[in-house]
Amino acid sequence: MSVLSVRDLNVTYTTKGGDVPAVRGVSFDIEKGRVLGLAGESGCGKSTIAGAILRLHSPQTKIEGTVLLDGQDVLALSPGKLRAARWTGASIVFQGALHALNPVQRIGVQIAEAIRVHGMAGEREAFVRAGALVEQVGLPSRRIDDYPHELSGGQKQRVMIAMALACNPSLVIADEPTTALDVMVQAQVLQLLRSLQHDLGLAMLFITHDLSVLVEVSDDLAIMYAGRIVEEGPAERVFRSPVHPYTKALAAAFPEIGDVRFRGQPSGLGGDPPDPQLIPSGCPFHPRCAEVTEVCPTIDPELWRAGEGRTAACVHAEGAPVFEGVQR
């Protein structure tokens, strides 16, 4: 049984300016001990998914579909059960540790809070456990007496990871955990995440726009565009031999140093990621696609087979139905 199983997830924000469909029919699974990387740019809906899994969105947001966490449908849980599931079933390492930590509380208190709120330990024991967690993420346990401002960016991110592990979740969602960090510190944090995930057998959902980071940490990779998954498969294969033209464009933005094909040849996409309220007809990527055909504005692509264990939502995928005017 998968740790996380998402089926036909739809998330629509209600704003003064109308409905904003941020996520439009997303399905994926994460098995125990596997890391799924979710890549995409602004407006693709990836961060929305993270909030939906723990039902952190405001009550006005419309969420449809099923989110099975350890077999339970999160979207159907009563408030009490939901609160119990949060942090013990799945936890989040947020983006920008700057604002995720309370500046007037000591680190240890904040970590212990998670433990105590779930009734997993009394006050004393919670602090002991907090110290152990902090050690586990590579900081000396005495740091639990520090305030957030006494820590550097990388250290704060480690504390965020310790907090996420506090209640022994089965799934950890990492939402842009290394975006604001320097490359060296980023490498340290990624190394930590990988080793913890491996040692604890965690399932992980890693969300970021940085495809090169995902390729390094993920087992499987899912690329999102305009609220949908447009390609999915084993991480390295998707990155090295992408099928969907968007994935090709995205991968080209992360050149490999030493590869002369990239030297002097910056390549990018014209246009912009679409506004969720103004998604183009048919395949949402067709206005910017380098391999666009005449049928693309008219058909709604699904994730068709694109190789062994891979899918892509494009007419050029090998498993796509035959369309007139599309050569393969």
């Binding site: 704003t15 090709k248 464009a249 080209a252 910056p266 390549s267 990018g268 996409l269 014209g270 380098a290």
Partner: protein, 314 residues
């Protein structure tokens, strides 16, 4: 994946007919900005309500300035009944000289609003100049100016006003000066804070990198981004100025030769309106003051909501 673009040397230079000159661009921009502002303002119920009330009183003031409103000369009203409660002939009643309180209110509106406006303009100008100087030129200038500003804030303005009025006499213009010169520090601090924040923005640095001298940077970038805050603040200052004038007049420091809402209240009190039970004499001018202050506050809030994106609800 890059689209083939024409060589840069072929870049078009001549625009098509119906071209936009720089002046036209500026005009169009201003018109568009105003239109957009008005649409946003209209959406605020509170702002519209306040605007309607304020407009009402402004029209009243203009009406009085044109000479209408009835007589406030006690000699002319000898025939009128004195201390009459509101009736059809005298909608707001009469005072102890038989003068219609409605006439007093109308006449008073002109001076009250004028005092509020002029005093607040003085406060705005002085406060803006000092705030901008302190915010833009940090260092010694900032320290000295802020010291002066803080000193002014600390001084209790009422005591200062009483002393100045006693020394300089009770003249309307003196009152305006006093109010203006004691309320600029609030504006100065606000402006300084805003300037400090705007100064750090990248587009200001870009302007400097383009070679813009200090005056250009201030006029083109800092001032336009500080002005909205100043305007929102000025509306509120008008309300405070009117209140201050009323307070001074009520304490007997007002200009006895001019009729303002404050002097009317003062008169009512000293002639024992409360003991006699002539409630209309007091309530009418007080209500006017309250309404104008309320209207200004509402307009100020609506302004602030538009100008300050953080207040706008999601």
């Amino acid at each position: 994946m890059t689209t083939t673009e024409p060589a840069l040397a072929d870049a078009p230079v001549a625009p098509p007919p119906g071209r936009l000159t720089p002046r036209k661009v500026r005009w169009l921009r201003r018109r568009r900005a105003l239109g957009r502002f008005w649409r946003q303002y209209r959406a605020s119920g509170m702002g519209m309500f306040g605007l309607v009330i304020l407009t009402f009183f402004i029209l009243m003031a203009i009406y009085s300035a044109l000479g209408y409103g009835g007589s406030t000369n006690p000699i002319e009203t000898l025939q009128n009944p004195t201390l009459e409660p509101p009736s059809l002939e005298f909608p707001l009643g009469t005072d102890n000289n038989g003068i219609s309180v409605l006439s007093l209110v109308i006449k008073g509106s002109k001076t009250s609003l004028l005092v509020g406006l002029i005093a607040s303009v003085i406060s705005m100008v002085v406060g803006t100049l000092i705030g901008m100087a302190a915010g833009y030129r940090t260092g010694w200038a900032d320290t000295i100016l802020m010291f002066i500003t803080n000193a002014f804030i600390v001084i209790p303005w009422l005591a200062l006003a009483i002393v100045l009025a006693a020394l300089l006499g009770q003249n309307l213009w003196i009152i305006i000066m006093i109010i203006g010169l004691t309320s600029w520090p609030g504006t100065a601090r606000l402006v300084r804070a805003q300037v400090l924040s705007v100064k750090e923005r990248t587009y200001v640095e870009r302007s400097r990198a383009l070679g813009g001298p200090g005056s250009h940077v201030v006029m083109k970038h800092i001032l336009p981004n500080v002005m909205p805050v100043i305007f929102a603040n000025t509306i509120l200052t008008i309300a405070i100025a009117i209140l201050s004038e009323s307070a001074l007049s009520f304490l007997g420091l007002g200009d006895p030769l001019n009729i303002t809402w404050g002097t009317v209240i003062d008169q009512a009190f000293s002639k024992g309106a409360i003991t006699i039970g002539a409630w209309w004499w007091l309530i009418a001018p007080s209500t006017c003051i309250v309404l104008v202050v309320l209207a200004s506050t509402m307009i100020g809030f609506a302004f602030d909501e538009i100008v300050n994106p953080r207040i706008r609800e999601r």
